[in-house]
Point group: C2
Chain length 338, copies 2
């Protein structure tokens, strides 16, 4: 029987999760929420998704959108909610809606780890989410760090990591944020990403620094990893090639920048031009020549989409699907990820 | 008797060097070169600088600029040339003009170290340039790395450094280069900056990675330094505060980004809004809590101006002024650097 899923919050993440749920053979999308009218609600309607109001029906009816009910109707039908509302609202919604209605919920990386007690990246700790009522999908940056560091840690063991995140200033459709001509460092040391990685990779010592730049397409990470065992570049390339949801991209293909990766994603027909895989540049993987135990690499993170497969796997884990590897394969197949 | 200086190449660096030479009590600007007409030549004329043609007089006369002679006239009068021509032209000019005319020349960081055999950052290795015929002023990024790493190395000793350079995509007046919406990594590992630092700080082990972003104002570096001695944050802040041509900037002052640093430079009346000091963010200085021997910091580099004081000091060193500390003080005073 299909898992009945509702999506609360229909922005950058919510609309992608809804489409992904609708694509899964073992899931049924009950509907999505809306509290005001926009092209997002028009697109949801056109896709045949039921629309449930939350906090009143705003200007929906005024614009010809007749809601299919309110959030209580959604909660009656769904057995799991993916909550993709803005930071802190997920926590409020657990208290206000999901707990009183005894409904499971996955929240996003804007919430604190303590909100659920379980933070999730499928290929790192699927089993931790098994049967849980509330699970937190970590942020796009943390997801990207966890995917590649987990692979490195399994094979070589990690003594310590320093990662710098060069973050896009705003999403492509965001007209409010910046910068448009500045580099803006995060002036706390370390940035919050390091501790956040440890909510998934519990024993990895990591400190992170971050800054924002005037670009909308992807984040870029540069990492230095002190390894417990010696490594060579070829083996690390193979390791990443053989790890799920990681894509090794090459200068030779002219995938030399975040812009070219995004154009490639559009060319291969990905919905919205998304690239949920973490892209690691082959030519930017290096090992220190003298000691062979310090690994460097650079990776690009599509902030709008890398967490979407994680949400799908979290739904399965929470509702008791025990085989994490199988869940990842099912999700990947629906996304066209090899 | 004043040192007679000519400037060959009157672009971003050349025009600033000319102004800086004109400000020194112990120097005399003989003139600058031009090979075509632009607002740069108009400004040079308005400042009363003699203009010498190189490779013909292009469209200068057509636009009402009557040259004061050609490069041979400049070479007759000057005893030192600062060559600020584009990459590789400096090398050609040594062979074509400076060597045959037995005239000393400082070239810029676009040239290879081997062109002069001496690479220069005043506070690191002034004495190496003493009496030399040809000296290379390293690039803006290398200058920035050398200034702060030299201070750290003197006090704590450096085992190794990893630096990532987030580079501005183009200078403010450059309408040809980009990116305008991408993050572009340097896909060679390590980037050339590490070896370049070693041309000045000969024994520092350093590897560097780099990328370009859509901003014009400054570069930003993030550094991880493994120290030989233990350190604490307060002492590192004091070390940078007490080192010349380094400015500790603070979040508390709202100097939180490259844009705000540049606005500050304009507010304090610096010519062209320049900031030749390397700006280190106080709040981004960190020491690992467990071992006390890994130092992190972030710094901003004004790519148009940080090498200008270096050019001035190089002129003095090449012409035999023995007291490097005194030269630095004289130069700093003329720039208003404390």
């Amino acid at each position: 029987m299909a898992i009945k899923v509702g999506v609360v919050g229909y922005g950058t993440i919510g609309k992608r999760v809804a489409d992904a749920v609708a694509m899964q053979k073992d899931m049924k999308l009950i509907g999505v929420t809306a509290h005001s009218y926009s092209f997002n609600t028009e697109v949801a309607k056109a896709k045949g998704y039921k629309i449930f109001t939350i906090d009143g029906d705003g200007d929906l009816k005024l614009n010809g959108i007749i809601p299919d009910g309110d959030i209580n109707n959604l909660l009656e039908e769904a057995e799991v909610i993916v909550d993709a509302t803005p930071k802190k609202i997920g926590k409020e919604n657990i208290a206000k809606y999901y707990k009183p209605n005894k409904i499971k919920a996955a929240v996003q990386g804007g919430e604190k780890h303590e909100v659920t007690g379980t933070s999730f990246v499928a290929q790192c700790n699927y089993d931790e989410a098994l049967g849980k009522d509330y699970v937190r999908i970590v942020s796009c940056n943390t997801t990207g760090l966890c995917r590649t560091l987990h692979a490195v840690n399994e094979k070589y063991g990690i003594s310590s990591v320093h990662a710098t995140m060069i973050r896009r200033g705003a999403d492509p459709g965001d007209i409010h944020h910046g910068p448009i001509n500045a580099i803006v460092p995060v002036l706390e040391m370390p940035s919050h990403h390091g501790p956040d990685v440890q909510t998934v990779l519990h024993n990895v010592e990591i400190f992170t620094t971050a800054l924002s730049v005037p670009s909308t397409l992807m984040h870029l990470h540069t990492l230095t990893v002190d390894l417990k065992k010696k490594a060579n570049v070829e083996d690390v390339v193979e390791l990443f090639r053989n790890s799920t949801r990681i894509r090794v991209v090459r200068n030779a293909e002219h995938l030399r920048s975040t812009a070219e990766i995004m154009e490639f994603a559009r060319d291969i027909g990905r919905l919205r031009g998304d690239m949920p895989e973490i892209c690691v540049w082959k030519e930017a993987i290096g090992i220190t020549a003298n000691t062979h135990n310090k690994l460097l690499y650079m990776q690009a993170i599509h902030q709008e989409s890398d967490v979407i497969p994680e949400n799908i796997d979290a739904i399965r884990a929470m509702t008791g699907f025990k085989d994490g590897q199988k869940s990842i394969e099912m999700t990947n197949e629906s996304f066209g990820i090899k």
